[in-house]
Amino acid sequence: MSLETHAWPSSYGERAKPRMGFFTDTSVCIGCKACEVACKEWNQIPMSIEGFSGNSYDNSIQLGPDRWRHVAFVEQKLPADARAGDSLVEVAARNSAIDAGVQTYQEGDGLRWLMASDVCKHCTHAACLEVCPTGALFRTEYGTVVVQQEVCNGCGYCIPACPFGVLDRREDDGRVWKCTLCYDRLKDDQEPACAQACPTNSIQFGELSDLHHRAEHRLATLQAAGQEKAQLYLADGEDGVGGGGAFFLLLDEPEVYGLPPDPVDTVRDLGSIWGATGAAALALGVGLAAAVLGGRR
């Protein structure tokens, strides 16, 4: 995919760095939530307790101003172990899947676990950044999307603009907060806290082009091992947001993990939006003229 965004690297010239990102390989996520904790620690994110959700082992529920990594837990009723009647081919496929590192089947009770660490996607076409009226949201030299907290005035426009529901306002603070892809750490050549804390390398950090290359090999490996539903999400420039700076390998459809299957950057339709708005303004002008100038005084 083309890595270029509207403002990166063009507006940085020689100061532009390679576009950095996350490849979250959910097939090896073990749901330890180290990423959530590391993110909170490093970024000094305020405490937020949602209580007991009843949603499997997920009590942090969703991304938000006080949660920039969120681990999803999905329980599915799928056969976990070899059953009588399974062909040797099926058994072999399952074993090779396990060899490939897809050990997401909980033994014994017929449940399949899916776990995935969600994060801001740092979209190639980032609607949040485009609709921000103050310029608080900007594209960094690494191609990531960051909120300048000293500029944000809490207008809230980015919140419904994000097709992933990533951004939200911190209530007592009034400003919008989200993942910065550890902008401060990147500037010191450190990897983001979540990636460093991840014990299984489910969260991989690096140059986006390298990560894409790795992801293709991983997808092909899993597909060959019989994981038919394995899929790359936001890995292509042709999708509605031009691909993500953070992209994912999923073992089921995106909506199963709470991700939209076809997210679209609203600004793609800006032409028709302004066109209709201008036409309506003109029509209003004609209507006013007709009402006031036409007919009796």
Partner: protein, 335 residues
Amino acid sequence: VSPPSSSGSTAASGSRSYHGQPVLKRPVWTWEIPCYFYLGGVAGTCAGIAYLSELRGNEVLGRRAWAVATAAITVSPGLLVSDLGRPERFINMLRLFKITSPMSVGSWVLAGSGTSTAVATANAWTGRLPRLAKLARPAAALLGLPLSTYTAALLANTAVPVWHESRRLLPFVFGSGAALGGGAALVIATPTRRARPARRLALGAAALELGVTEVMHKRLGEHGHPYKQGAAAKFGNISRVCIVAGAGLLTARGGRSRTSAVAAGTLLSAASLSTRWSVFKAGHQSAADPEYVVGPQRRAIERGERAGAARRQPRLTSPDPALGSPATLEPTPRA
């Protein structure tokens, strides 16, 4: 371990979701915003009517219209500022002019429209600032038009399905709603003898508002469900009832009885306000239910109209398991 949940199998009406959690965040905008949509429309159309009425020689209507426009546009920034998370930073709205942000464009339109309307009104009522007012009058009238419709662009330019998918018609709903609100306000504020253009405008806009809103609901198709339930439906019903009652009363007695005109104008104002509330609430409902977000997207993929953002086919034929394995990931060099 909790029992297998509905996650990954069914949501309210068919599509899958993650424990029924919303995909989008709900807008944080509160009551100030739909009220501003209404008042901005009133200010915008009244400035236009004022300018045109003066051209036509209807000074009474002109002056009243300038006054109403100023009243509406004076309250507006207050509403908008109080809705900010950091009201003290309101001036950051004018840090940039950004065409991709209808809120930025609108802030400039509101600033220009407010200033010119205030100057024009001061001149119309006191005769002061004659040279400035020569420029300010047409400027206020002209800027009033985008002021009345840009708020639809603001809503349409989001990921909220019920707003985004109505992007071609919502500006017309807001435009006719603005004409309705402005006309109705002037029916209230102007002596009946001088209010004929305001009545014409209000009645024409009432018919349009009913029609365009109906067409928008139809065209939305599956995206339009939020309009059929909850607060969005309630406000929609209030709006329709008020339009029919107000227009009927205005037609029957609006030209003869000031009391009837005031009552009709109030009903039509309520209709204009209710339509904005209906649109506003529909957006909240649309964002809150994952079915409204995921369902149409998934069905468009199934129909082959959209490719979606996920891909199962690898872009290489002979994978190298070592290269793709997280187990063999080189540790990132540390400084």
